[in-house]
């Protein structure tokens, strides 16, 4: 018993000494690091918006959006500082957007993606494909931007995060509106749609009757179960309640949520599978 006590006390003392030392060093280095980060950020602002005179900061969903103005008070654009979950840890990046809602610059501030694999997100090659993309563009893998194979999770996370950030900026600061997907005139019936997920296809069956989406069922999915429960049944419920596909997808599983929405859209773009659907439900 006395032995256990001695061991615990020794370990505790070592840990306390360690914590004290770390606290001391942190207090010295933290202001230096923060000051440099702020300076780097201001430099980036000036690079992307050479005529910048002042900016005002807004926060949406935990991300920071700086609205940039020139000397005459004219809006030049928005600089977003966005955090997203990469393959391993958080990716923080700046996204510069001009008043036409076009991306004019990307700067990865910090990340912990795998060296030589996921850190491809910091390269010009990867980032340049976003430059000039606007609010009107799909920014969808395989359509107008490319996922890098071997670094699917890192690059996929960046693509959907950039799409969401651009969306947020467009709708909140640049008076843009997304063209709503129209489906009121569809024939009654059951519609099936499939999209590719990270680990395999996701298929939904949509029951459409009397001009309304009645039910949305997941037929097949290969999403990570632990995350998927955050998107299903929440997202289908939102679609059915609001009777539109432009629902808020900010959940614990934003990627899965977006996939469900895309699959429903994909389904309603196709032909119905018959009055009574695939099953006898």
């Amino acid at each position: 018993m006395r032995d256990v006590l001695r061991l615990s006390i020794t370990l505790a003392l070592v840990a306390i000494a360690s914590a004290a030392l770390l606290t001391g060093v942190y207090n010295v280095t933290e202001p230096v690091i923060r000051e440099r980060e702020e300076r780097d950020y201001l430099e980036a602002l000036e690079r992307f918006f050479p005529e910048i005179d002042q900016f005002e900061t807004e926060k949406i969903n935990g991300d920071t959006y700086d609205l940039v103005y020139d000397q005459a008070g004219e809006k030049l654009g928005v600089m977003a500082t966005v955090k997203t979950q990469g393959y391993d840890g958080t990716i923080t990046y700046n996204l510069a957007i001009n008043t036409d809602a076009e991306i004019i610059g990307i700067l990865v501030v910090s990340h912990t993606e795998t060296p030589g694999i996921g850190d491809i997100i910091t390269t010009d090659n990867f980032q340049e494909q976003f430059i000039g993309k606007s609010f009107e563009d799909p920014i969808e893998p395989g359509e107008d931007v490319d996922i890098v194979s071997g670094a699917t999770l890192s690059t996929g996370a960046m693509i959907s995060s950039i799409r969401r950030a651009l969306n947020t900026v467009g709708e909140n600061f640049l008076d843009m509106e997304r063209q709503a997907f129209e489906f009121e005139d569809l024939d009654d019936g059951f519609y099936r749609g499939t999209v590719d997920g990270t680990y395999g296809p996701l298929t939904v069956e949509v029951e459409f009757r009397d001009g309304r989406i009645q039910t949305i069922e997941i037929i097949e999915h290969n999403e990570t179960e632990a995350y998927f429960v955050d998107a299903y049944p929440e997202i289908p419920q939102r679609i059915i309640e609001e009777q539109k596909l432009e629902v808020d997808v900010e959940t614990g599983a934003t990627l899965s949520a977006e996939r469900i929405v895309s699959a429903v859209k994909n389904a309603l773009e196709g032909a119905p599978e018959g009055e009574n659907g695939g099953g006898d439900n």
Partner: protein
């Protein structure tokens, strides 16, 4: 190699006879990972050396205080503390190097050279000798990383003191097409294998054991 002076012996042993990279093949992860450019290799070597020296001294001075049953956790806490200190200092005062070394800085915690010296030397020997041992092994590690990084940078990129257009010196002029393989992770294995072969030949020739 005379062993008249134990301090001199401690110092030279880490650099030459028991060089952690060329002789013991310990701590190979950063050796292969960050030696694409000389400056990164040296930076990594010095960061690991600083941690090693500090942890050797602290562990040697605590060796009578730490019970043997919990020595490994105590060593790891000490090592992790110094690694975090180095990480914060690098981030504050050497941001470019911090960016280049990336995840390999926190990984110094699990570098077996450091725990190896703590367990095999510092936990048994006096403080001053542990300090000298730390300096010796640290220099040996830095030297090995420096040599490997120099070879890889010269052949893989054709530069010295890169990356970056300001500091890099183009060795072979603009027309030189570097052997990209040496810049890649796989090239690190090949370069390391060649260097190990060369050092073995040298050691055999001079009969160093």
């Amino acid at each position: 190699m005379s062993a008249n002076n134990p301090y001199l012996d401690d110092l030279s042993r880490g650099i030459i006879r028991e060089n952690p990279v060329f002789r013991l093949l310990l701590g190979m992860c950063p050796v292969l990972g960050v030696t694409g450019y000389l400056i990164n290799g040296l930076g990594m070597g010095l960061a690991a050396a600083a941690v090693l020296i500090a942890s050797n001294v602290v562990i040697a001075s605590l060796k009578n205080f730490i019970p043997p049953q919990v020595r490994i956790p105590c060593f790891i806490v000490v090592i992790a503390t110094f690694v975090t200190v180095i990480e914060m200092l690098l981030q504050a005062f050497q941001p470019a190097l911090y960016e280049a070394l990336g995840v390999f800085v926190p990984l110094i915690v699990v570098n077996c050279v450091i725990l190896g010296r703590a367990e095999a030397f510092a936990s048994k020997k006096p403080v001053l000798r542990s300090l000298v041992d730390g300096i010796g092994v640290g220099l040996g590690f830095t030297l090995a990383l420096g040599i490997l990084a120099l070879v890889r940078e010269v052949f893989g990129h054709g530069t010295i003191m890169g990356p970056g257009p300001d500091s890099a010196i183009l060795l072979f002029g603009e027309g030189f097409e570097p052997m990209a393989l040496f810049g890649q992770p796989a090239g690190a294995f090949i370069a390391l294998g060649l260097l190990l072969g060369i050092t073995n030949v040298i050691f055999k020739k001079f009969n160093i054991k």
